[in-house]
């Protein structure tokens, strides 16, 4: 790849985030806070020291997993926004599995089964959107969005009724997982092993798309379905498998949230990692490795919610305004690829190398 192109794909998202910062600064001064003070606090809370950076990492882990739920189907040309729903059903399935097994297996076995349960549930959830798309031509964006509502309603129903722990008084929850079954922190940190899951999933996803025959087939079907058919590629199968894989990643995010952070399934499951994941996927232009970096950034923004409330008297939802502004600018910046003269390849006055001067002769 040409270095100007590479530079373009780094500069545009970074520039977009900077532009988002400026807009957010304007917003802060409008509500009466000193924007530079706010930026300083966000920086300190997100990346200022190892101790605060760990908060960022904790939030980045589910974002990485949830972003894959949008990024993978995007390679097939599908816009899936069912991250939140897949995350919620994944969390529910993981808790149910953990509670059902209890302590009858060693903790590692329980955790593995919980992860599988979360992935299967999330996979079925988004796989259903893929199947609807393929067999009945239902728009996948709308169906996955509606599946979010269904998942959240299901969560509220279960934790408020059939699965409710009578001891959870003001915040209805399922019964807590046994403490031994919780995901532990990585040695020497406050960051749980979910971060490793996220990193591995992103690297695997990148590898799957760029380096395997499956990824090639998926990109072909995503780029032009007619060409894929003429090459005999099984378009329907690809759609459903990719959607299911995507949902499995978000489902795993749900498992990580319950097994490492919440300890039970409750309404804290849908605190925005799902929607944050959509933002991450778009800002990373659906590149799984880019999603790792963007997740750190968005994780940092989310981690700074508390401090804005404490030291600037801003509601902690202010960071969501920030997130939204960045999202808008990032989507806009997408339209600038190939438009800025600086990033265009410089002309060289030689005829291109691959051209054979001869006219075709029968071979």
């Amino acid at each position: 790849m040409n270095w100007r192109r590479t530079l373009e794909s780094i500069c545009l998202p970074v520039g977009a985030i900077l532009a988002g910062l400026v807009l957010f600064g304007i917003f802060c001064s409008l509500v009466g806070a000193n924007p530079f003070g706010v930026f300083g606090s966000i920086w300190k809370a997100a990346f200022g020291s190892w101790s605060t950076f760990q908060n960022t990492l904790i939030r980045a882990a589910p974002l990485m997993l949830s972003s894959l739920c949008t990024a993978l189907p995007a390679r097939l040309g599908l816009v899936i926004i069912g991250n939140e729903g897949a995350l919620v059903v994944g969390g529910l399935a993981a808790v149910s599995m953990g509670l059902a097994i209890g302590t009858s297996l060693p903790p590692v076995g329980v955790q593995a089964l919980m992860a599988i349960a979360g992935m299967v549930a999330g996979g079925i959830w988004i796989g259903a959107a893929g199947a609807l798309r393929h067999y009945r031509a239902v728009n996948e964006t709308i169906s996955s969005l509606l599946l979010n509502y269904i998942a959240i309603a299901l969560l509220n129903h279960l934790v408020g009724g059939p699965m409710r722990d009578p001891n959870s008084l003001n915040k209805p929850s399922t019964a807590p997982l046994d403490a031994v079954n919780m995901l532990t922190n990585m040695p020497g940190t406050r960051v749980h092993w979910g971060l490793l899951f996220g990193l591995i999933a992103c690297v695997l996803a990148y590898f799957l798309i760029q380096r395997t025959t499956f990824g090639f087939a998926a990109r072909t079907a995503g780029g032009n379905i007619r060409a894929a058919r003429i090459a005999g590629l099984p378009v329907g199968k690809l759609t459903i498998i990719v959607c299911a894989l995507a949902g499995a990643c978000a489902g795993l995010a749900g498992m990580v949230e319950v097994a490492a952070v919440q300890g039970a399934a409750n309404e804290s499951l849908n605190v925005g990692y799902g929607y944050g994941g959509i933002l991450v996927a778009f800002a990373a232009r659906h590149n799984p490795l880019g999603a790792v970096l963007v997740s750190l950034l968005v994780g940092g923004i989310l981690a700074s919610g508390g401090i804005l409330q404490r030291s600037h008297n801003l509601p902690d939802a202010t960071v969501l305004v920030f997130e939204g502004l960045v999202f808008l600018v990032v989507l806009y910046s997408d339209s600038l690829y190939g438009k800025l003269p600086f990033f265009k390849e410089k002309p060289v006055d030689a005829s291109p190398p691959a051209v054979t001067p001869k006219s075709p002769s029968p071979v």
Binding site: T220, G223, N224, I230, A231, P234, E345, P347, P352
Partner: protein
């Protein structure tokens, strides 16, 4: 050609302006697509623009239309330098263009599309008044298209007529036509160009025609400009130039036309057999109503027909892009559902029409597009892993062998010129050693004459090796030259079949017309 058609409209009587393109240069990244090209379109002339695939013809006219911004050069209109930054500016100076593809909105009617195309459309449309004006316009136009039909119901020929009518309706005085006849049958092409020619003769229009067909150049145009690899290669009066001269300007060398002779194939076996195939169009209306045919090894079976009579859907069924509503397909005697495994086992290949739409992924690279059939087996894959080095090497070989003009193997195939996209697909589909069955649909649309000759010889050579070829084409000359047997499709049914030696030209024409 002494009869002049009725004038379009009082205001179009004014003569068209003179258009001069002076020293125009356009680069795409490192590729110089146009290098100091000049062209002079005199008022009231029919001017041809010739050149090989990728010579820069479309780029030149897109610069004139304000689609691309030229890096250097000027456009003079009636001698005055003018800046054209958008098609709207071009329209302001009376310049209109008809593209290689259709631009009408399929769900809307002809009348709606015409009104929509106007740049000055007000927010409120007085339909009664508009319809009166449209009727008047249509009555005085050189050819007619029914105003109330939705575009989706028009045949390709009618759509192309509409694109030209649109420009007349916009009162364009300089008409740029970029391969307008590639979707028309030769008969339709002659009719449309003939009627435009009358307008030119009457001094109402100037036309710049991009074409690959010398027949159109000699019978309709007066002047010709030739591009070669982005440079001006020649210019002159059509009367004073022989076809061989123009071909030499295009290619930069004199070439012997080689024809590959057909040799009889010793042991013909049935390869493709289909029976009672029925299929619907996208909108659910039946397009193919029960057709049956057997194609043997070492045989080219040509399917002739006016476009829109079901041949497109039939090809889609055989190529795996559309499910038939009934009927069976067998290849080598085995049932065939066009899965990847079956395609590989029976060595079935396809050259569909409109390759960029049907057979390529525009934003993927030339190398990736060339690997579409082979990426999942050795040496391009090892287990589930792609071996990029092998994919690239194969592509480099094919680019050489098939003379694909591309800056590199990594260029998105959508950036290539129309003809080079075609060659990319051709390279992929014809490079295999053991092709068994080849399904080709209008494989030569939009190709320059050298490439047409190349494809024809490749197809005949394949047939001589024992490949069974099903060739669907709207170009009757092509079918008569290549086929061993010819079948005519009309309203979704085969209405005529004969060996080429006994084929009756008149009967073919009549059955194509549905009589």
């Amino acid at each position: 050609m002494t009869i002049t058609s009725p004038s379009l409209n009082v205001s179009t009587i004014a003569a068209p302006p003179e258009l001069q393109i002076v020293n125009m240069t356009k680069r795409f990244g490192s590729l110089v697509a146009l290098d100091n090209v000049s062209l002079n379109l005199k008022p009231g002339t029919f001017h041809a623009l010739l050149g090989e695939n990728g010579a820069g013809k479309s780029t030149l006219v897109k610069c004139v239309m304000g689609f691309y911004r030229a890096d250097q050069g000027e456009i003079l209109i009636d001698g005055n330098p003018r800046a054209i930054a958008s098609p709207r500016d071009a329209h302001h100076y009376g310049i209109g263009m008809v593209y290689q593809h259709f631009t009408s909105v399929p769900a809307m009617t002809v009348a709606e599309n015409l009104v929509l195309s106007r740049y000055d459309s007000s927010t409120l449309i007085n339909w009664k008044q508009e319809m009166e004006q449209l009727n008047d316009f249509m009555n005085s136009a050189p050819f007619q298209v029914p105003l109330n039909l939705p575009i989706a119901q028009l045949a390709a020929g009618q759509k192309q007529k509409l694109e030209i009518l649109k420009q007349l309706y916009l009162k364009s005085k300089i008409l740029i036509l970029d391969e307008p006849t590639s979707v028309l049958t030769p008969g339709e092409a002659d009719e449309v160009l003939g009627l435009i020619k009358e307008q030119v003769n009457a001094g109402l229009l100037s036309v710049l025609l991009i074409t690959h067909k010398f027949r159109e150049v000699t019978s309709f145009t007066e002047e010709v400009t030739v591009l070669r690899k982005g440079k001006l290669a020649g210019h002159g009066s059509v009367k004073e130039l022989a076809i061989a001269d123009m071909a030499e300007m295009m290619m930069g060398e004199r070439r012997e036309i080689k024809e590959v002779a057909k040799t009889p194939y010793a042991n013909p076996q049935p390869v493709l057999q289909f029976e009672g195939i029925q299929a619907n169009k996208d909108n659910g209306v039946e397009a193919v109503s029960g057709v049956s045919l057997t194609v043997h090894s070492g045989e080219i079976v040509g399917i002739a027909g006016v476009s829109g009579n079901g041949q497109k859907e039939l090809v889609e069924v055989l190529a795996g892009q559309r499910s038939p509503t009934s009927g069976t397909v067998r290849v080598n005697g085995e049932p065939y559902q066009a899965t990847r495994a079956e395609m590989f086992k029976h060595k079935v290949f396809a050259l569909p029409e409109e390759p960029l739409r049907n057979a390529c992924v525009p934003h993927m690279s030339v190398a990736e597009n060339m690997a579409l059939r082979t990426f999942d087996r050795a040496p391009q894959a090892k287990g589930i892993l792609l071996i990029w080095k092998a994919i690239r090497q194969t592509a480099q070989g094919l680019i050489q062998q098939f003379s694909v003009k591309t800056p590199s193997t990594e260029t998105p195939v959508g950036n290539l010129s129309g003809g080079n996209v075609q060659r990319t697909v051709l390279a992929r589909e014809l490079s295999e050693d053991h092709i068994n069955l080849l399904i080709a649909a209008n494989p030569c649309f939009g190709l320059d004459f050298a490439a047409v000759e190349f494809i024809h010889s490749q197809i005949v050579e394949a047939r001589n090796r024992g490949v069974a070829v099903l060739l669907v084409s709207e170009d009757l000359d092509e079918l008569l030259a290549l086929s061993d047997r010819i079948v005519v499709i009309s309203s979704g049914q085969f209405v005529y079949e004969s060996a080429i030696a006994e084929a009756d030209f008149g009967a073919i024409g009549r059955s194509m017309a549905g009589h």
